[in-house]
Symmetry: D2
Subunit: 337 residues, 4 copies
Amino acid sequence: MIVIMKADATRGQVVNVTARIEQMGCQAHISEGQERTIIGIVGNGRPLDREQLERLDGVDRAVPVLRPFKLSSRDFHPQDTVVPINGIDVGGKRLLIMAGPCAVEDEAQILEAARAVRDAGAHMLRGGAFKPRSSPYSFQGLGEEGLKLLALARQETGLPVVTEVIAPEQVSLVAAYADVLQIGARNMQNYALLHAVGESQRPVLLKRGMMSTVEELLMSAEYILSHGNDRIILCERGIRTFEKYTRNTLDINAVPLLKQLTHLPVIVDPSHATGKWELVSATSLAAVAAGADGLIIEVHPHPEQAMSDGAQSLKPEVFRRLLGQVRAVAQAVGREL
Amino acid sequence: MIVIMKADATRGQVVNVTARIEQMGCQAHISEGQERTIIGIVGNGRPLDREQLERLDGVDRAVPVLRPFKLSSRDFHPQDTVVPINGIDVGGKRLLIMAGPCAVEDEAQILEAARAVRDAGAHMLRGGAFKPRSSPYSFQGLGEEGLKLLALARQETGLPVVTEVIAPEQVSLVAAYADVLQIGARNMQNYALLHAVGESQRPVLLKRGMMSTVEELLMSAEYILSHGNDRIILCERGIRTFEKYTRNTLDINAVPLLKQLTHLPVIVDPSHATGKWELVSATSLAAVAAGADGLIIEVHPHPEQAMSDGAQSLKPEVFRRLLGQVRAVAQAVGREL
Amino acid sequence: MIVIMKADATRGQVVNVTARIEQMGCQAHISEGQERTIIGIVGNGRPLDREQLERLDGVDRAVPVLRPFKLSSRDFHPQDTVVPINGIDVGGKRLLIMAGPCAVEDEAQILEAARAVRDAGAHMLRGGAFKPRSSPYSFQGLGEEGLKLLALARQETGLPVVTEVIAPEQVSLVAAYADVLQIGARNMQNYALLHAVGESQRPVLLKRGMMSTVEELLMSAEYILSHGNDRIILCERGIRTFEKYTRNTLDINAVPLLKQLTHLPVIVDPSHATGKWELVSATSLAAVAAGADGLIIEVHPHPEQAMSDGAQSLKPEVFRRLLGQVRAVAQAVGREL
Amino acid sequence: MIVIMKADATRGQVVNVTARIEQMGCQAHISEGQERTIIGIVGNGRPLDREQLERLDGVDRAVPVLRPFKLSSRDFHPQDTVVPINGIDVGGKRLLIMAGPCAVEDEAQILEAARAVRDAGAHMLRGGAFKPRSSPYSFQGLGEEGLKLLALARQETGLPVVTEVIAPEQVSLVAAYADVLQIGARNMQNYALLHAVGESQRPVLLKRGMMSTVEELLMSAEYILSHGNDRIILCERGIRTFEKYTRNTLDINAVPLLKQLTHLPVIVDPSHATGKWELVSATSLAAVAAGADGLIIEVHPHPEQAMSDGAQSLKPEVFRRLLGQVRAVAQAVGREL
């Protein structure tokens, strides 16, 4: 941490800040510039509280030197983490493709969807049983019945299953049926839930909040990692901006940025990031070209009858064509499907 | 709902959309413009799924006619809802002032803070026992011990207590100690939690998410109202924007907008909305002038030693001076403290 | 400027950065922390280029110590600047009220509007002759004819006139008719225009860009100040955010923040900041309570016939009532109308 | 346009709105729903003023049926527009690569840069002579001297030149030296400038404002098109969001969205969109995979000495490697370099 004093800070204020730093068990290095005094802090290994320092008289700002995330940081863990799922080392050379409907609606729908995405080349089935919806009047998912149908679809198709968990007390229930636990965008900072999936030791798909920074995403991963669970796949799914023609704005910068900052694998959800099926193919290819380790795509056998997210779901034949293009782009950037 | 067809939509596509609308149990009114065909839908009382309609061939967009919130809407419930707390009808003429530290730290701190805010004129004590923090390495609150200290402070000062609840299974525990349950900004769309506080039948302080629209805030209130619990106080606490000199941007527009859209009382949290104590007084007065029904302000006896949010906490003497100014502005707009 | 080296920076890279700093005519102070090396720069009075430093090998980030604005800074010029207009010292105790229609439409309209706002208590007439419109198909203003009508209205009512100038070559034309030159939000970073109004030595109303930071607003003021023209009134007029129920989001935090950072007066435009006339009164009062030095409000004698911005324009009788409330709030915070 | 009346609108208010619509020369179609009355407007070919309608008593909202852009719309002009530049039909199968330094600094720099980007495979040289900078203390470009150096570099390398024009009165000067006129992000809504480049009949590179929606970008193109100049290349260059680790957020969704909405070619500027050279390669590939018609990339022979934007400039050898990867991704999506 570096403390920048105000232009009119007094000698006494500098002494007081220095005393406070030493009281925290750290060392203070004062350097007096032409206009401002700067105090560098050499720490003792424990995190420093920036706000306490900023409240001291005469202090203009405190600037952190270190990033606040550790276990998820590439500085801390330089080599890529790979998360093995269904024979694919996620984060390795081969891309992971998850696909399926937004929500499990009934047996026929999920089985038809599962077969369609498997036949098209997906490695994993997605489908929501517990649906966080902004309206209490919208379809909230089938709950445990949905989990059972997902398990049935897995049995029929051999595809492992990823599904969302929305409350800490449901983690063990969902983990009994699902291969990967999804933390949705709205729950990225639901810390009780992050602790619970950390403890579960199951692979976790952690979606970025729609208005969360990349740093906050890594801090949330930190909660899971702090339980010794490093089987985490990060997911960029679009952020909220002022642009209104699309549901969200896919932050494609975040893909290479995350690959630089962290060792965890990173996939992209182009369905939520655009909200329009017509934009899903182009952005899927962009994600792969940018270095994503995989994709999670909404596919519905009959999108015009979908109980949620129909507007952003691909029909199976469009999805199949897309995977052909994904394969070509993957090869162009040294990856494979 | 109104369906706007694409410019090149065919006659058959219009027929198909009409058929689908009737299949939903509604009536379709077609009107053919010079360039586009528009289909108005007369509903059957149940919500329509916009996305299903937008997925039909030839459809450009579907535009909702009605707002998606009902129980919280002023159309539905024209007169103001008042929530009685400690002899104040929140949402009536008199303003509610909640104040106290960000977090309960120890007995001495919370008692000192409680006495200070009571003496300055606050009606209610705030203080966090369970703290959602973006970093797992930050102070997470004292938990149940913090709740006990809040109860002790209430006993000592007579001030009722508002404190945050962060997981559904904690609701009954927190409700055993607190007078008002706070849903924090990060949990505004934690629907399991909203259901739980709805069932509790306790007064709820519902903070707007930093990434949430006013409409989404009202939809979250709708979750609580759907359990018959209408003792809800809404709280504007700043939204996330591109501006970096302040922690958040206080959306002052939201105060009169909410008063127009809903019958629920609306208060403002200038501490989180600015993140800087120097800006808290000016924005508190702005909130009252704009029609807010109250304020929730962070006050700490020793902000420079606070374990969280020190930079945005007022010292007791500043808070006391502020309440004098609040009183004057309140009178100027026909309210009282 | 402080340079923070990467965790794995080599000794040679530190030496190289130091050499580069000295080559820039500055001094480098190295301090080696546990995990990172920090290099403080003591400058030579000239601005340093952060990006050059960030491009050097081994550098993680460079952190500026000083704010980039100088002439507009309160550090540089501690006492308030007052801009005298029509007998009011803008930035002093008395508030400045500018009002009038979005655009000058014809003689009858502008005369009716001017008389109405004068009678209600406004000090100055606003009205656009050159209108920057996002669509080339929208009304673009009457041009010089509009300026003449403004001059006529001034003659009839005694109100000085503020109107927008949108191109450098128009500055002298507009200055021939107007008392205050307005730089609109879309032109806040039109530097050729800022230079031109700087040279004009006329009072300038500088509106914040809808997606500009407070720092960028002050940098734009700096362009005008660099020509020795300090007759600048800053205007907060709402920023663009994700919220869709209002046209913009009034950044009320910016009012006390600007008063802290700069010596220039600050007024608020609640009409553009909300886009809805129903929200204009509440936000006007909020602006005054927060410490604004004045208001600029759209008032149209017949808003439902206005050629632009009808939805956000007040009717004269509403405006008159509002000024009564403004007076009360102004007194409550030690100001006067 | 569709007018949605308030829930409590009276019969008289509906009649009044209808009368007003007919007075505008249009026809009104009333349809009464269960809760609201909807009035559809069949127009007369001229644009309707939404705000006038929204100001009428009893009106809740007016919803436009048609997009506000026409000449730039794909509905109006279904086939792709191609802009021929240096033997490349921009908007056709082959990608356009523009590259060069942010600013022209001196003869040696621009010649070295021009040769390097030509040798690496670029088709066009970029370089700023007039630089809009947020600070008046930053390097503002060499002005006409810079234009002459660009012309010299063109003569030496055969590369056509794109450079920014920042004021209407400079258009003819810049057009005397440059092959393509660039409208920078800060000037996207500088309408006087848009008119001037429209009249010039020269090819225009129109960059999206950092605060502008896709619709606003197309409205700005409309200004240029309204002068009969359709040689417009649109450029996505990143938008401003809350994310702070990158300078801007590349809105990759905008690429396929624009290709759907308009017939004009679309290129991407990954340098400004990220602000960090380490992220430029990945996002360049993403842009091509998403369907961009070209790239504009900052390349500087010695980025650590660049007078602006050093942090986001590629070294020539990195740029050369990148073009090899671009070629591979282009082929994977059916394009060529």
